[in-house]
Amino acid sequence: MSPLKISWKSIWSKPLSSALNIMLIAFGTGILTILLLASTQISDKLENNSKDIDLVVGAKGSPLQLILSSIYYIDFPTGNIPLKEAQELARSPFVKKAVPLALGDNYNGVRIVGTDRNFVGIYKLKVKEGKFWQNDFETTIGTSVAENLKLKIGDTFYGAHGLTGSTDVHKTHAYKVAGILAPQGNVTDNLILTNISSVWKMHDHEEEKAHNHDEKSEAPEIENKEITSLLIQYRSPMSVVMFPRMVNESTNMQAASPAQESTRLFSLIGVGVDTLQWFAVLIMFIAAISVFVNLYNSLKERSYDLAIMRTLGASRGKLFLIVIAEGIMLTLAGTIIGIVLGHLALQFIGSNQESSQARLSGLIFLGEEAYLFVAGLAIGIFAAIIPAVQAYRSNISKILSKN
């Protein structure tokens, strides 16, 4: 009959108050777990999608909006930029790789992105089936798109104007699925990729041409063409200092850094996370007090028990251990249940999420969760230390003679 077993039995002998304490701790830990998992996953996703892109150049407007629309594909673009100017920037010595994007259409809410082969390079894309888009109106679709919209190679579909909605359908040309991407774990899973001239052609119905457009050719009709934005990978770290300033000062376009804007975005979300975090900490604190009151009250009833244990040979240290172990067991049980519940809840939230763009998963475990254990342990010790010290110090002769 070890001291730990005595603590354990004591917890079970008052199931209601023990359950209440465990629930409080579990609730607080659960919220903290969800916050921890969700915020890490969101920031990971933000980073994953902009990993190899150093800068986005687009029409003047909100830089955050430019990043949201051209990196995460979740907001409206800021406007268009002239292809000619974009091509000049692309040839700048600061630039290693430049990827043009032409947005504006969707199919069942999935964005159709007109771009060139550099897009494949910058996102390191691979096809699972079929091939990359080549001719006009050929598309390569993300793995989630194929899954969700049940599209196969050879299927055709009509794009609709706008980023969502299908009221204004471009019936003149049908897109054809030429390939399906392997799962990439970023936004490209949810995009339909095609070449830029397809997007242009959708919009100039009268100017239909039989031959292919090469977006890099200097054909005269390119003079007044426009694209949405340009993704840029720098040639050297020096570009960081020079290039954005050059774009912002000497052209009519703006340059926005995905890293900077993601950080800014995350710090905006962070305010909400902070509030919830304090709420969870408050719950944990209340739980700690509840465990303390529980132990303190039961210690009054148990002082005679503990004195009897001393007469049976238990040392002061053992009594201390029995009381503190009871507190730690309660809070650790709460912590473990809370972490498990947090994961389950997040998995549930993830499975009910509309957009698979930012789907959260409860099946990812983080090293930081160890801190939650440490916190549970600390709360247990904090709540039990005073009762334990009292058990240690108690005058058993006095307790026993007050029979």
Partner: protein
């Protein structure tokens, strides 16, 4: 052998009780008599190492118990002294068996379920082994507390008014069990009481004035 040498105790409020010297031979059975408030409980606490007296020494089997460290004294008590209180007090969250096993493990002795069974059988409550204290009658609980006191085969068995809350029949039975158990376990027995029903059973008496 137990020896009480020049012991006196001052309570913090200034109340002072002196005890005359006392030699208790191994295996002898003693009655500790005294009016209410004369200091019986105080003396038993001093004898069992629960209350350190201001003056004097207590020697049990050659060990001056108040010269031991707190931890060693607890250990010594667990191994060598069995105590029975006026009211039986068991740990409510543990079964009868577990209460006895707990006494073995606090004395740092290995768990011995045969011994548990043997003691409970000799006290006639073997069938209550897996019951919880709340399921037993007062008289049965007093037997369990005797079982707990003798489980580690102590050299000294001490009872503080073990019969005062029991009716005549139970009081006689408990007294008989105490005398029996001290005989079976070859333990010295000291019973403090002001219960007249107990007096006839003992030859040795130590009186407090």
């Amino acid at each position: 052998m137990i020896a009480l040498n020049a012991v006196s105790h001052n309570y913090q409020n200034g109340h002072k009780i002196g005890f005359k010297d006392w030699q208790v031979d191994d295996g002898s059975q003693w009655l500790l008599l005294g009016a209410s408030g004369s200091g019986k409980t105080t003396l038993l606490h001093i004898l069992t190492g629960i209350l350190k007296p201001q003056q004097g020494s207590v020697i049990i089997d050659g060990t001056s118990i108040y010269d031991l460290s707190s931890k060693d004294l607890d250990q010594f008590r667990g191994r060598n002294i069995g105590i029975i209180f006026q009211r039986p007090h068991l740990i409510k969250s543990l079964s009868i068996k577990e209460n006895l096993v707990m006494a073995q493990s606090f004395a740092n002795l290995p768990t011995d379920l045969n011994r548990v069974k043997e003691v409970l059988t000799s006290l006639g409550i073997a069938d209550k082994k897996n019951a919880y204290p709340s399921e037993l009658s007062h008289g049965q609980l007093q037997r369990v507390s005797i079982a707990r006191a003798v489980i580690n085969r102590p050299t000294l068995l001490i009872a503080d008014e073990p019969t005062s809350s029991l009716d005549d029949k139970n009081a006689a039975a408990v007294l008989e069990l105490l005398i029996d158990q001290s005989g079976i376990n070859q333990a010295t027995l000291i019973v403090a009481t002001h219960d007249k029903r107990v007096k006839d059973a003992f030859t040795n008496t130590y009186e407090l004035s």
